[in-house]
């Protein structure tokens, strides 16, 4: 039997090696070899993760947390950080999703990027991304998590701007990186605060310390609130929450597999992971939890309304991701950590599926992304159509698809705690169903609106694209069964599995009475019913009656505001980006050049002028010297006599 600790360190090692091999031979390797190395690396990681997962399951519950220390990273003064990995139920779940979904998307990319000149470069970035993402969830201390955190940001930057000849894409990449950096700094300050106040940055130490001093921490709530709020700022950036969400829709400039892997399934859920990991700290900071809840809820609704009026297939999905992430934060804010993680997992399946499906459509139509130019694709792309339908049903929360169970759990938690929150969350959920089916019907039903030329070339995608779609469709169909609630005669395997991770935080959370079964049935039935009505409405509007969204110019009023995303980008540009450039220009021109440097040069000129003037005193005329000398003597004598 191979040593478990060795296996743990292998998981991130494979993608790192894959990256190094491909990156160092980027111009030498053939596409086939690159694909083999890159996909193979992730597959090996996935297999290792599965082995580790089964080992964890077979271990007694108390031993389901294994730390492996590779070496001491750096230590100075009272501070020390190790390169060490933590495997526990939470990180192992993330490992499975990252490497599993990651592998499928790697395979998909072989077909999708087939003709791209940057094929090798693309796969090297993807492998590097997986490495950093694994580091993020496996690191056993905050700083290592931060390394992964910034590392995935770097890969995201490189991949958004992958087609670097297009300056709009580069704008999107810059925006993503800088906006994330704003969040990252919040996170970094939070980490420094933890290091200072807890004297350690390793999770077990910090949590043990926090539990020990829980009374003191709670009575002086300000410290723990600061720490958790700062960490949450990091989460806002990475997981695209208000106010740091505008980068994510723009990030769709990257190739579609990137959108699926990074900007839907894995990287953007880093914030969810981070809060779940720190559940002990958050449970002690009720004020922060409330903020998390409000931000999550607001983002869920806000993004959903924008998605109603977007006409770019990927933009709709992007806003839907922002909205769904909001729901996850809502769950975390309610203290329902398991529900948040559950939704993260199912969302990874169906949103990856939807993005890859969208990619398949875009691929088939020769890079057309506007749903107003699609329609009637059902019969041309049968596999894409079926799998996309499953994804849409899953995100809309139709039983028995995966999204139903996870979303229902969040809504049930909301209902138990606060009816207003519940109403708003249901609203966001219904909006989701509507705009997703709008997208679906406009793409696959109704008249064929694509140009003749495009319809002539249309073809179903190759196997490497379809197989990942089918696998993800199966997961979107069956993924929900890991958390079937009691009321539906399930045992909720996931909550038992994750229980050790969240065990110590339950004591700090307010307890709410379980809903009666009757209430739960009523809620489920009501929401599903309303969802189905909205779907039928969307069907009659977009599929049957062939309603096509108006062109950009003719859209007016509120619709125009929605289409323009509430003008938030314009607002940020006007109040942050432009002023920053102006300030730097003003500093350079006035303070630097006209201020400091003028002063410096002036002091030089003053010396030159002074000596030039003083030189006039020595004019070489003896008479003048004697005259001055006499005046001098007289002045001395007068001065002496005055004494």
């Amino acid at each position: 039997m191979v040593n478990t600790e060795f296996l743990i360190s292998l998981v991130p090692l494979f993608p790192l090696l894959g990256f190094l091999i491909v990156a160092l031979n980027v111009r030498r390797l053939s596409h086939g070899v690159t694909a083999f190395i890159a996909c193979g690396a992730i597959l090996l990681s996935f297999i290792t993760s599965v082995v580790l997962f089964t080992k964890l399951l077979s271990a007694p519950e108390a031993e389901r947390s294994i730390t492996v220390t590779l070496y001491q990273w750096f230590a100075a003064g009272s501070f020390s950080a190790n390169i060490s990995f933590l495997l526990d139920p939470l990180s192992s779940l993330f490992l499975l999703i990252i490497t599993g979904v990651g592998f499928l998307i790697h395979v998909y990319s072989i077909g999708y990027m087939h003709d791209d000149k940057g094929f090798n470069r693309f796969f090297s970035y993807l492998n590097l991304f997986v490495f950093f993402m694994l580091l993020l969830v496996m690191g056993s201390n905050y700083l290592l998590m931060f390394v992964g955190w910034e590392g995935v940001g770097l890969c995201s930057y490189l991949l958004i701007g992958f087609w670097f000849k297009n300056q709009n894409y580069n704008d999107a990449a810059n925006k993503a990186f800088i906006m994330n950096r704003v969040g990252d700094l919040g996170l970094l300050i939070g980490i420094v605060l933890i290091a200072w106040k807890f004297g350690s940055i390793s999770y077990p130490d910090v949590f043990a310390n926090a539990l020990q001093n829980s009374e003191a921490l709670k009575s002086h709530g300000i410290l723990i609130t600061w720490i958790t709020m700062l960490l949450f700022v990091g989460a806002m950036g990475k997981s695209a929450q208000i106010p740091l969400y505008t980068w994510l829709p723009d990030a769709m400039a990257g190739p579609t597999p990137v959108s699926a892997l990074i900007h839907a399934a894995t990287m953007v859920t880093a914030g969810i992971y981070m809060i779940a990991r720190n559940n002990v700290l958050y449970a002690m900071a009720p004020a922060t939890l409330t903020v998390v809840m409000i931000v999550g809820l607001a983002t869920a609704i806000f993004a959903a309304t924008i998605a109603l009026k977007q006409n770019d297939i990927k933009k709709v999905l992007a806003y839907s991701t922002v909205s769904q992430l909001g729901l996850m934060f809502l769950a975390l804010g309610l203290g329902a950590f398991t529900a948040g993680i559950f939704h993260m997992a199912t969302h990874a399946f169906f949103k990856a599926l939807l993005f890859l499906g969208a990619g398949s459509v875009i691929h088939a139509l020769g890079n057309e992304q506007d749903i107003r130019n699609m329609g009637g694709l059902k019969k041309y792309l049968p596999v894409t159509y079926m799998t996309f339908l499953i994804g849409v049903l899953a995100i809309s929360g139709i039983p028995p698809f995966a999204g139903f169970f996870s979303k229902d759990e969040i809504l049930a938690n909301a209902f138990a705690q606060n009816k207003i929150v519940w109403v708003l969350a249901v609203g966001a959920s219904l909006l989701t169903a509507f705009y997703m089916f709008r997208l679906f019907f406009l793409t696959f039903f109704g008249k064929e609106r694509a140009s003749h030329e495009k319809m002539h070339h249309i073809h179903e995608s190759p196997k490497s694209i379809l197989i990942p779609l089918i696998v993800l469709a199966i997961l979107s169909l069956a993924g929900g069964f890991m958390g079937v609630p009691e009321v539906l005669h399930g045992s909720h395997w996931l909550s038992h599995y994750l229980a050790p991770v969240f065990a110590s935080s339950t004591q700090f959370l307010a307890h709410h009475d379980h809903l009666s079964h009757a209430t739960e049935y009523a809620l489920m039935g009501g929401i599903v019913g309303a969802t189905i009505i909205l779907i039928i409405f969307a069907y009659s509007r977009y599929a049957k009656n062939n309603h096509v969204p108006a062109t950009d110019e003719t859209t007016t009023g509120l619709q125009r505001v929605l289409m323009n995303k509430y003008y938030i980008d314009e607002l940020y540009n006007a109040i942050i980006v432009k002023p920053l450039y102006h300030i730097s220009a003003v500093f350079e021109a006035f303070i630097e050049r006209l201020g400091i440097d003028k002063l410096v040069n002036a002091s030089g000129s003053f010396v030159v002028w002074g000596s030039r003037t003083a030189r006039l005193l020595q004019n070489g005329s003896i008479g003048y010297y004697i005259f001055i000398m006499v005046i001098g003597i007289v002045l001395i004598l007068v001065a002496n006599n005055l004494k």
Partner: protein, 539 residues
């Protein structure tokens, strides 16, 4: 041999410079070869030092011999020693210098004008740089410190760009001003400090020994800088003034805003290898001087002005970054980013915590590596086109793939991305400046928070530069030959790749170097805090 390693490091280049003087001018290859041999030989001498160095706060490989002893009758005896040694701060900096000087020599291959003079000056500069990092006698330090100016002045004034005269004179006058301030303090210290060993038996021996100056007991009572009875001059007492003079003297070198304006001009005009040396090594002497001289000799002043030093550090970080963002010239941008990054050295030092000081030293080494890389990058472009204006380029990555890859590494390393050396340094500086308030009350936590915004700005200006110069469709300004845009030559790989690897290595495996630095940081922190308190309590 083991006992003379430091002297060998200093004097080999000087001897080589003398040999070069006797070689005829036309042997251009010979001068290059001599310089290269010297650099390689220095590395060979450095290795046993790195291996033999024992982590502790003590000076090692110390060499000591009498240099000047002058009996001045009633004024006592003037005594200056040839005293050199390395500790946990100087050894990493010496190693950095030797490494960067080697790369600078390779980079100097492209120098065509007056090769003989160039390499002679480079060798003299080499000796002076190493000497300043190892001298433990103030007079000796000052000698080496001044010795650096002249070769540097000529290297910019003769081999520089179009505005070289303006830039070189500005550089000379600015640094000369700093030197004079340091000189004043040195004379004051000389009159106030006695050698405790040699002074026995009624004889008063004045000493330039820096270690003697760090011990408050060695100050002669009723002298100008005597901690027990310092003279009051205006707002402050003489010791505070002395600290401020030293601080300004070294801050000019660092450079600190607003005393930094010589740097962008000098960098823009200097040839690539000189820029590399200037950024990677010469700036470090400012930080080194602060931590070697100003802090331990005037600890109570260091604590008193800590907040001021910290604020100046943060100001440099932000102001440098804003100016970098507005720069149109690539080299100017990198120069301002240097100002910004050296601000972290000030902030770390100001915190007077072990983490902060270790971070400051680490930042000096890390910035040495990364800025050398960045200036070489600017040089690669300048060599091809003689144009450094950012807007004159677009989409270079289409033509120069490998160069762009290394530019990405350099820029992200400079941004402080985790995995690179800068990240380690910045984290430690943040930690130190955060903890400072609780441990010694010097800095306020908000300084650390404001400093972090420098990291956002650095991401902004680097990414913007990448976007404008390297991404987008390939396009050049009309008067640039597009044939000139070719990927890296093997000589350029030899320079850039080791620096990239070094930046990564010190980010992933920082502990070996930290093991050297940390005992020094611990020693200096304890010394500054203990002596600082003792002097303040004992007016």
């Amino acid at each position: 041999m083991q006992h003379y390693l430091i002297s060998l490091l200093i004097f080999t280049p000087l001897v080589a410079a003398c040999i070069c003087l006797f070689l005829p001018k036309k042997f251009e290859k010979a001068f290059r070869a001599v310089a290269l041999i010297v650099n390689v030989q220095q590395i060979l001498w450095l290795l046993p030092m790195l291996v033999g160095f024992r982590a502790s706060g003590m000076f090692q490989f110390v060499e000591r011999s009498n240099w000047i002893t002058l009996n001045l009758g009633s004024w006592g005896v003037l005594k200056a020693e040839y005293l050199v040694g390395v500790d946990g701060m100087s050894l990493p900096l010496v190693a950095l210098s030797v490494f960067v000087l080697l790369i600078a020599t390779i980079s100097s291959w492209s120098i065509q004008k007056n090769v003989k003079g160039y390499f002679v000056l480079l060798l003299i500069l080499n000796a002076a740089v190493i000497g300043s990092f190892v001298a433990l006698d103030f007079l000796l330090f000052y000698l080496f410190f001044e010795f650096m100016l002249l070769p540097m002045f000529f290297l910019i004034a003769i081999w520089g760009g179009p505005r070289r005269e303006y830039a070189s004179i500005k550089f000379l006058l600015y640094t000369l001003l700093g030197s004079i301030l340091i000189l004043v303090v040195m004379i004051g210290l000389y009159t106030s400090v006695s050698d405790p060993v040699a002074s026995q038996g009624g004889l008063l021996v004045h000493s330039f020994n820096l270690l003697h100056m760090m011990e408050p007991m060695n100050f002669i009572s009723n002298t100008i800088l005597d901690p027990n009875n310092p003279w009051q001059i205006g707002w402050f007492n003489a010791r505070y003034w002395a600290f401020l003079l030293l601080f300004i003297g070294f801050a000019i070198k660092l450079p600190m805003v607003p005393l930094h304006t010589w740097l962008p001009d000098a960098h823009v005009e200097a040839p690539t290898p000189v820029s590399v040396i200037l950024a990677a090594i010469l700036l470090k002497i400012g930080g080194y001087g602060l931590l070697r001289i100003a802090y331990p000799i005037f600890p109570e002043a260091a604590m008193h002005f800590g907040m001021f030093v910290g604020i100046m550090g943060v100001l440099s970080i932000i102001y440098g970054a804003l100016n970098a963002m507005a720069s149109k010239d690539l080299k100017r941008l990198i120069a301002y980013s240097s100002v910004s990054h050296m601000g972290f050295v000030l902030l770390g030092a100001a915190s007077v915590t072990e983490e902060g000081i270790a971070g400051a030293v680490y930042q000096m080494v890390s910035h040495g590596i990364i800025s050398a890389m960045l200036f070489l990058i600017a040089g690669v472009l300048y060599d091809r086109t003689h144009d450094r204006i950012i807007d004159h380029y677009s989409g270079l990555s289409s033509k120069m793939q490998n160069f762009t890859a290394l530019v990405l590494v350099g820029f992200f390393a400079s941004m402080g991305l985790p995995g690179f050396s800068g990240f380690i340094a910045e984290v430690m500086v943040f930690l130190g400046s955060f903890r400072s308030n609780a441990t010694n009350g010097v800095l306020h936590e908000s300084l650390a928070v404001i400093a972090t915004s420098g990291l956002i700005l650095s991401a902004a200006y680097y990414l913007w530069t990448l976007q404008r110069m390297f991404f987008g469709p390939f396009h050049l300004k009309a008067n640039i030959e597009s044939d000139a845009i070719v990927d890296l030559t093997s000589r350029e790989y030899v320079m850039l790749v080791p620096l990239a690897i070094a930046a990564l290595c010190f980010g992933i495996f920082p502990q070996p170097m930290l093991d050297m630095i940390d005992p020094f940081a611990k020693y200096l922190t304890a010394l500054v805090i203990d002596h600082g308190k003792a002097i303040t309590l004992n007016p």
